[in-house]
Symmetry: D3
Subunit: 259 residues, 6 copies
């Protein structure tokens, strides 16, 4: 089974791989969400998929089909669910998908499932789905099959941030459509980035609470929470390489993958 993509493997290839390896499947999870005037709606899915593929190539893990729709955009992390271009799932469905996919893969004989998240708001619902699947399967032995969850930016180190944001990192909460995502996209999918449409503006200043219904004017008019000024493909490459390397190292260490 040469391909890293499960969707491209045949059933016998998949079956052989299950038997012969410490089979680990990475599941990228994204969203269809507005990302300002310069980034495409599929940014979160594209980045989660790219990071998963990068880590898979370095560890022998395989990449499942991407979960393309995510939880609702929240104003403090994604501008809000009222914005055009943001399509969302209710919590129960995202929980259910994570549960079904975890159950399905583990029942087929996959040893480890790793959810690689690219949309901040998804995280807790993926967690619940995984927990429910493990309870249903009666799995509680940490030495047995396992599931890992992570958001790819958890693998961006302090030192990388210092390089990417020479004037100081403004905080993860407003990194939506900002320098990190834009730089990664410039590195990975430059044809989908429109830097000429990028608008300079101050970072969003949001209250300490969430308010619903959303007060739309609290989101910057671009929909991005911080401006992408200073984004470069070079920074993107640095971010991507370090993230993927660290993630691959972690997966290898934690799950005994060898390459």
């Amino acid at each position: 089974m040469k391909t890293s993509l499960l969707a491209h493997a045949t059933a016998p290839e998949f079956s052989n791989w299950l038997d012969n390896e410490r089979a680990t499947v990475l599941v990228p999870v994204g969203a269809l969400e507005q990302h300002g005037p310069h980034l495409p709606l599929g940014t979160d899915s594209l980045l989660a998929t790219a990071v998963s593929l990068g880590a898979a190539e370095r560890t022998g893990a395989k990449v499942a089909q991407t979960l393309n729709y995510g939880y609702k955009s929240q104003q403090k992390s994604g501008g809000g669910n009222h914005l055009r271009g943001t399509l969302s799932l209710d919590a129960d469905n995202l929980i259910g998908i994570a549960r079904d996919i975890t159950r399905s893969f583990l029942q087929q004989g996959v040893r480890n499932v790793v959810f690689v998240n690219g949309h901040y708001e998804n995280y807790q619902f993926l967690y619940e789905g995984v927990d429910l699947a493990l309870r249903e399967l009666g799995l509680s032995d940490p030495a047995g099959p396992s599931v890992l969850l992570l958001s790819y930016w958890d693998y961006v180190s302090e030192s990388t941030l210092a390089t990417v944001y020479p004037q100081g990192f403004p905080g993860w909460d407003i990194e939506h459509g900002g320098v990190l995502e834009t730089s990664l996209m410039l590195h990975l999918h430059p044809e989908l980035v429109h830097m000429d449409k990028a608008v300079e503006h101050n970072p969003a200043l949001l209250p300490r609470f969430d308010r619903l219904p959303v007060v739309p004017e609290r989101t910057p008019h671009t929909g991005a929470l911080s401006a992408p000024s200073g984004s470069t493909a070079q920074k993107g490459r640095l971010l991507f390489e370090r993230t993927v390397t660290d993630l691959a190292t972690d997966l290898s260490t934690e799950l005994g993958l060898e390459r």
Copy 2:
């Protein structure tokens, strides 16, 4: 908005398109399912996506991100859910996804949503999801926003079948991994088809009832319900062109799309 793929459009492009056109979004729905030794697990998703893109290019509709996971494989139409390589959602989650996506798109201002199904077992659950979304939104006027559902093979005409199956069409129920899917894949994704692995065997002879738990030996050992012998890229092209053309015609007529 030049791209047919919503995931590649920016939010302002999407927003402008919503305002200025009779906005129609096609949602391909597939599965991750074993398709015998010669076809990849992602066959249903790949075909539904390709048909959607083909119809979109002819009608000005846009294609949303593909729903990559489908309902359980049933023995009489897909060999059964016990087979390795078949990963599935429970009905409630597939219903929920169809509901959320229908609601989301219509609330954003999309005029028509069209689910283009590529995995037989999905259909009734997509239908229920759409029905629930319309009830929730209070939409019952046939002159207002609408949702269409179809499986792409509903657009394969009798005359096309006569060409593709010169010795007679064996029936849709056992067309899983058979000549139709294989020919389409040979036309659209030849690098993912392994005709050298294809096995000649008689079509599956299944009882008139469904039985659960499944009796595994009733499914041919390949996992395909009929053999792909006789599949060619040329047949695939014929199938694809006629299907896409007929679908595009139907969408244009039914939804007033112009191109």
Copy 3:
């Protein structure tokens, strides 16, 4: 336990039967749905019940109380859910009922449960309910307790169709309130059939897609999808006898029932 109807048996009779036989329970599933001007709303329930009783008498199986409400009528198979006289369940409830009944019967010691469906739209939801029950009970051995699902018209053979439709069978999809159902009702419940109210009209010509909200004028004004002209009690008797005989044979062979 002489009666074929579980509702008429006492608990000790049921309990003894459970212990001493290869206990098989048939569950008829119908609907409350308009069937044109000549057939009663309960047609699907009445037919599923009659077929179940016929098969039970020939196999020693017992018939559980009928599930009297079904899934929504779809325009392409039942005229649509907007029509007066059509009362429906959402998918989740029909799934849940099938799940609960399957679980209940199997936990009581019933060996086989057979759902005998009389309303087209029910099928996939019954299937899901059964699958969920078996997963919950941890049953995956095909040699253990089992569940069969079928729609009674799956047992109408090609040769029977040729007799009943001398000018050619118009297709199952538009057989709603048509010759098959009407003939069966004329044979089984003639007092509930009003042939004087039957209206001659062409078969429905429906598009290849489903559209929601429904365009009402696509359904013939009678609510039936094809006219009942040519229906006779004699055809009904033929249909009933052959269907019940073939079903009984299948049940006996598949489940080892003897009589």
Copy 4:
């Protein structure tokens, strides 16, 4: 529309009736539950249906198809769900059915829906289903469409009890398979009652709490909570006539039905 049974009416008959009368539909709700050695499993459904038909004939209301499966038998009111012959639904499905049926009938134009319950444990779940349907439909005006819920024994008066139980009424809680149900069945379905199998025993003495898992020996070995000694068809006729008359009077007064 002469018939009282909706299942026996045609769609045009039903539709005319909807337009011309203060249309009221009674929905009998029962169970498939052990009722001791002398009564059939379908007792609750049979009694709820008979009472509904009796009240319908006196008021011009119509009777919908019976809901044949009910909530779990509880030890203090039905002996317990562990007993053979007792088949049950989970709460969510019974709630869902009541919700769907209420919604369906009201949306079709029915003015009043009346649930006539014959299985003690069903009540609260029917209530919730009705409440959810009304909330969903936005109905809160008491002068508009309405839903009534009742258990038929709520219409057994003190004076009737004094006649039926000359030595004092032992209490509703242990009236399961006892004199009331047995007498009613002797009046309505004598061929289904086996008084020769009836066993004399003391009334059940159950604790003030419910305990789960059930302690089986707390239920009398017959499964009935009190003995049917003293049951007669004459008492059954009295119970039935008074109950039906009082119910019909209440319905007429409350809903403005005239006859």
Copy 5:
């Protein structure tokens, strides 16, 4: 572990108690519901908590945090859910909470869980939650871990009623804001009772059916179903002491608690 309140114990105290005793946890369940002009909204929660604490002190059981929100108020038992001050949960959430709490406590090693209900309408939903949890945990042995359910007024004996209601007990159904609850509150929380606001009125005269939407004028204008006239702290003390004593005796006998 000296405290009776789990919320006040530390984890090691709780853990030791689990290991060394026949650990029984009481879970008070109340509501936030109008109780007429003289009683506070939290009456049901306060009373269920007080009874639980009283029983715990006499048996060594511990009291979990109170479930403060209950099922909808029904007109015949609580005046109706339309009244200001009545905040309610849907059935599925109350069922779910009872299920989760039962599962959680039993999985931690608690031997017995006892739900002490103080709001009439909660009961059936708590029952369902418990049943689902036991099914999920596979517990069906009556000699193993167990769950008890009760409403505290089930422990008010006939003789106590005779003392408290010298002119005859009007019936549990209209005991909402009446003498029983008021007297208990005068004994336990006199500072929260406003007898000066109490209004004399006849007991509610409600029909034998439930009607939805509610006809508001059928509820007495105070919101109480019977007047609190004659309530005294002395009666409250009697009620409380006898209830708690009988409950403690029952728990000790049933669960083998010793003190």
Copy 6:
């Protein structure tokens, strides 16, 4: 209505308050969760309640009954759900409770509902419940009724942290049973804190991913994620006063509350 506690108000008091003020209700949300050897299981509920009461007194808002059970403890924020003393709700129930309570309060006429969270893992599920309630009620106007969500530690400012942690703040993620919670409890409920049981240990060093099933040894043996050394009632008072003051200011400004 003098009391800040809704549970202590009568229905007429509540009703008057609804009519005459810009009625705002605070809903404290906690958990029953192990908090190391020195803090009680109810810590999160106690703190959320205390902060709510403090803010209510400064703004005229009222405090609803506390939600005493929360979402599962996650290893990276609470040590993990496997620990004794941690009792949890599944996501769907916490979502449902938040939804029901939001709907109930807004339908009663409350203008603003504010969830004051004290258990990290609850947040996203509360958010979803609120969003579903607003969608159901059709509320999307930011000038209309609103709901705020916050965790009380969002109101601990940088400058306060600098005072409380003179050697640097170790991060919110491991503040479970640490200096912040312990100091607050020493200030508010000193009798429930056992500093003599507090154990010195290094902060937890947890991986960047979540892993399920949990590897128990990654949680410090105390169950706390950082040691409480250095906690004082004085720090607690500072934390409490500043938090409550800032929260009250925010509520007043945002919701137009006056005092």
